[in-house]
């Protein structure tokens, strides 16, 4: 404890201890007022950007374009397959362009799609066309291969 430490022979230590023991003067009113203003300014400095960001986010959420894209996750359980791709109205029915990624036999990919109706299918191991067992069946298949359909709402 500072109060109990004896003043020793070391002049530096003695000077330091004497300074630490010196009573602190209470701040003057002006100084105290200045401190309060500084603390308030610090709070203000941090609050305004946060409030502005929150307000902008709220405005964006309220007025975001109704045709903005939404994330849509496609998944197919195919543990024995080496490769699964997704093809449909959203990629010109390119059977090789959109590979899914496998995790414990579940193949998935997430696309951002605008509101609308999309027909699609999975292509397994480069050759086998597979409808989505969890998806709706498209009523408008014209080529003899069952196709799935997904509707993305606003």
């Amino acid at each position: 404890m500072l109060d109990e430490a004896p003043l020793g022979s070391d002049p530096t230590l003695t000077a330091v201890l004497r300074e630490l023991r010196r009573p602190v003067k209470p701040p003057s009113q002006a100084a105290e007022r200045a401190m309060n203003i500084l603390m308030l300014e610090r709070r203000r400095r941090y609050w305004w950007p946060l409030a502005a960001a929150a307000a902008l986010t709220a405005v964006w959420l309220a007025f975001r374009r109704p045709d903005a894209t939404r994330p849509v996750r496609f998944a197919l359980r195919a543990p024995a397959s080496a490769q699964v791709t997704l093809t449909g109205d959203f990629n010109d029915w390119n059977a090789h362009q959109l590979p899914l990624h496998s995790r414990a036999g579940e193949w998935t990919v997430t696309l951002r799609l605008r509101p609308g109706r999309y027909r699609y299918a999975f292509v397994v191991d480069g050759a086998r066309w597979v409808a989505d067992p969890r998806g709706a069946t498209a009523p408008d298949d014209d080529f003899g291969t069952p196709t799935s359909v997904i509707t993305v709402g606003r």
Binding site: D140, V149, G153
Partner: protein, 191 residues
């Protein structure tokens, strides 16, 4: 909605058809697309239909028939809906293909004149495709549309009607598809 001038420009320059379809098929398809563009109908769904056929290995005649049929459905959809966006026309064409009547489309527009019809039409197509008689499917959708329901409610309705545990009580067995006039290029599978 695609402006006529823009549609014409796109139709005249469709490189995807040229890149993927045989020359004769590309020409025949382009003619149909040009017709659509001149009528102010969306061309992208027609392009996608042709590309789908090519990707699935269908023969040229079948692809042309499919594009032609879709074009006709788009025409009927627009006549029935009046003004409509491209996604609405696509969904309406699907509903017509499933078995909905043109009058149904018009009635739905009358119920929701200022709201998009994409999801209600899409749901109508899906529940008819799942086996529900068109009239009954329309009653379900009309009831929901009358309440001003949003997209989420319609999609929940579809999920309820197409995935119900007692499906046999809600839906009759799906009608048998007419036999196709050409074998599919690859056999479809469901895992």
């Amino acid at each position: 909605m695609l402006g006529t001038a823009t549609a014409r420009l796109l139709a005249a320059q469709e490189p995807r058809l040229l890149a993927r379809l045989p020359a004769g098929l590309a020409t025949a398809t382009q003619r149909l697309i040009d017709s659509a563009a001149s009528e102010g109908l969306p061309v992208e769904p027609l392009i996608q239909k042709a590309l789908e056929g090519e990707s699935k290995g269908a023969d040229s005649a079948r692809i042309v028939r499919a594009v032609q049929a879709l074009l006709e459905r788009l025409r009927v959809a627009r006549r029935s809906l009046g003004g409509a966006t491209e996604p609405e026309l696509v969904a309406a064409a699907a509903a017509l293909r499933a078995g909905a009547s043109p009058a149904t489309l018009g009635a739905l527009r009358a119920l929701r004149p200022n709201q998009t019809l994409v999801v209600p039409l899409s749901v109508l197509a899906d529940i008819i495709a799942a086996g529900m008689p068109p009239e009954r499917a329309w009653n379900s959708v009309r009831e929901m549309a009358s309440t001003g329901a949003g997209d989420a409610a319609f999609l929940a309705l579809r999920d309820r009607l197409t995935n119900a545990p007692s499906t046999s009580e809600l839906l009759p067995p799906p009608a048998r598809r007419p036999p196709s006039d050409a074998p599919p290029a690859s056999r479809p599978d469901r895992p």
